[in-house]
């Protein structure tokens, strides 16, 4: 192991009660507590942090418009590496990539990645909301519910192109619920059937309520450093072996192909090439599940199955507990929690699985895990490949 190899040494997520952060904490309070927990788990203190990476949707317009500035001030950190890349929910996988490069270069020693959201407390999910200016002047006037409508149009096209069925999409929600039932922190833990998913109200055809992620609060933090630094810290290091990122569009009219994730293909290809492995070497995947269709498209884009075969792949139960390809083992955005930009929770769960800390939902013998975030409206993709040796 090279001394400057980038590793993850601390993670933390904010405990929720029925999807809410107890006490009505502000996004800044949530961030501070998650950051403190993550650095202390590693055996570090906030004094050691010299790289600060964050993305979020709080306080904008206002203090959240320049979130790195506000957070460094609030935490009293003066970073020498800073990154507020915001490409939607995949931002945190991109942050791991950027922090990895900074650590390898010796540009910083301890990088802190954070996220916080109070969207459920604020009851702020707004299906319309985007000002009809600039690129959005050609979409907002037509009333596409965002983001569900865009994902629905992709699902509709995938059904048309490949014969994917509503039942197959539903199996993704069902398999994910199977994992949530083993996670005491998950919001939805009751058993779920395909028939129940199909009986849930239609939101945007062909997506039903149970094809859509939860709307919760949440907060999380990830701490990275070098392999050399990690030797004296508390937790076994989780190595960053590969990463990639890309994005193609934000408005749906500009998406290159409605039934294919070009950004995820590019991100995945780069990450696998860097890690020197292929999809067959992945023991566990944490795949952004804003909607069931997101998972299906991502499985295809990353090469876990062929284009058009995502439905059949999930239908066989391979991704459920006991299956040979575990994904979203915390219960995912569909059943665990989804505070707007979910990507940091993919990393947190993968790290805990690689450390063997996951109790009833622990996957045996995990050595290599993949996280893939999706942001915007199927717009951005960022992949992180992690390993415990």
């Amino acid at each position: 192991m090279a001394d400057r190899d980038p590793v993850i040494v601390g993670v933390a997520d904010t405990p929720l009660e029925n999807g809410l952060v107890p006490g009505g904490l502000s996004p800044l309070q949530i961030t501070a507590f998650a950051a403190k927990a993550a650095v202390e788990e590693a055996g570090l203190s906030l004094d050691d942090v010299d790289g600060l990476l964050t993305a979020g949707m709080w306080g904008n317009p206002g203090a959240g418009a320049l979130p790195g500035l506000t957070l460094s001030e609030y935490l009293n950190i003066c970073p020498r590496f800073t990154d507020s890349t915001n490409i939607g929910g995949s931002a945190f996988e991109a942050h791991v990539a950027h922090a990895a490069m900074a650590i390898e270069k010796g540009y910083c020693e301890v990088a802190l990645i954070t996220y916080a959201s109070t969207q459920r407390s604020d009851a702020s999910r707004n299906l319309g909301g985007r000002p009809a200016a600039l690129t959005f002047q050609f979409e907002t006037p037509y009333g596409m519910p965002t983001p569900a409508g865009g994902y629905a149009m992709a699902a509709m096209r995938h059904m048309h192109d490949f014969g994917t069925t509503a039942e197959q999409l539903a199996t993704i929600a069902v398999n994910t619920r199977g994992w949530a039932m083993r996670n005491p922190a998950a919001m939805y833990r009751a058993p779920l059937t395909v028939d129940e998913v199909l009986a849930s109200p239609m939101i945007c055809d062909p997506l039903r309520k149970l094809d859509c992620c939860l709307v919760t609060d949440g907060g999380g933090a990830v701490v990275m450093t070098s392999a050399q630094n990690a030797r004296r810290l508390n937790k076994p290091a989780v190595y960053v072996r590969g990463y990639g990122e890309s994005h193609t569009h934000w408005t749906m009219g500009a998406m290159p192909e409605l039934s294919r994730l070009v950004a995820a293909e590019r991100a995945g290809e780069a990450a696998f090439a860097m890690a020197g492995i292929g999809p067959d070497s992945i023991d566990l995947a944490e795949i952004y599940d804003s909607f069931t269709i997101t998972v299906l498209l991502t499985l295809e884009a990353l090469g876990f199955c062929k284009p058009g075969e995502g439905g059949a792949f999930s239908e066989k139960g391979r991704t459920a507990p006991g299956g040979d390809f575990p994904i979203n083992t915390n219960g995912g955005g569909l059943s665990y929690a989804h505070p707007g930009m979910y990507g940091i929770f993919l990393l947190i769960e993968a790290v805990r699985q690689l450390r063997g800390e996951c109790g009833a939902r622990q996957v045996a013998g995990v050595k290599t895990a993949l996280c893939h975030g999706t942001g915007g409206t199927l717009s951005s993709g960022a992949t992180t490949i992690l390993a415990n040796s």
Binding site: Q137, Y142, G143, M202, C204, D205, P206, G253
Partner: protein
């Protein structure tokens, strides 16, 4: 009084909205490579040329994909539910988002032929929408 969000034309898009007000669908065509694009940009996305023309197009196209919104995109759309939001592939090539105005939302299919029909929503703005052709 029209309550839904109105497009905010800018220097790069005003010719499109002015034509729409006259019930013409008018989009950029590149003089360098001959291809149309939408939405209007300063540079042709195909060849990066800035030598662009505004050209009236047929207003005919096909449904590339769509969804039926069962929940409105905000209160202003509440009375329209269920309504169709679609991506239309214009005969001339580009793809645009719009609504398909039809009494039979359940009958819409990918590949259906559609044609433009303008809806006057304010003194300045007419929205291009589509009806089954």
């Amino acid at each position: 009084m029209y309550q839904k969000p109105l497009p905010q034309p800018d220097a790069g898009t005003r010719p499109f909205w002015e034509a729409a007000r006259a019930h013409r669908l008018c989009i950029p065509k590149c003089r360098a490579c001959g291809q149309f694009h939408f939405y209007p940009r300063a540079l042709c996305p195909h060849c990066r040329s800035a030598d662009l023309d505004w050209v009236d197009v047929s207003g005919r196209g096909r449904v590339h994909t769509f969804t039926i919104a069962r929940r409105p995109a905000g209160p202003a759309f509440k009375e329209d539910v269920p309504y169709i939001v679609a991506l239309i592939d214009l005969e001339e090539g580009p793809r645009m988002m719009s609504n398909i105005v039809t009494g039979d939302v359940e009958g819409v299919r990918i590949g259906d032929p559609v044609k433009v029909r303008f809806e006057d929503v304010s003194a300045e703005i007419s929205l291009p929408k589509f009806i089954p052709a």
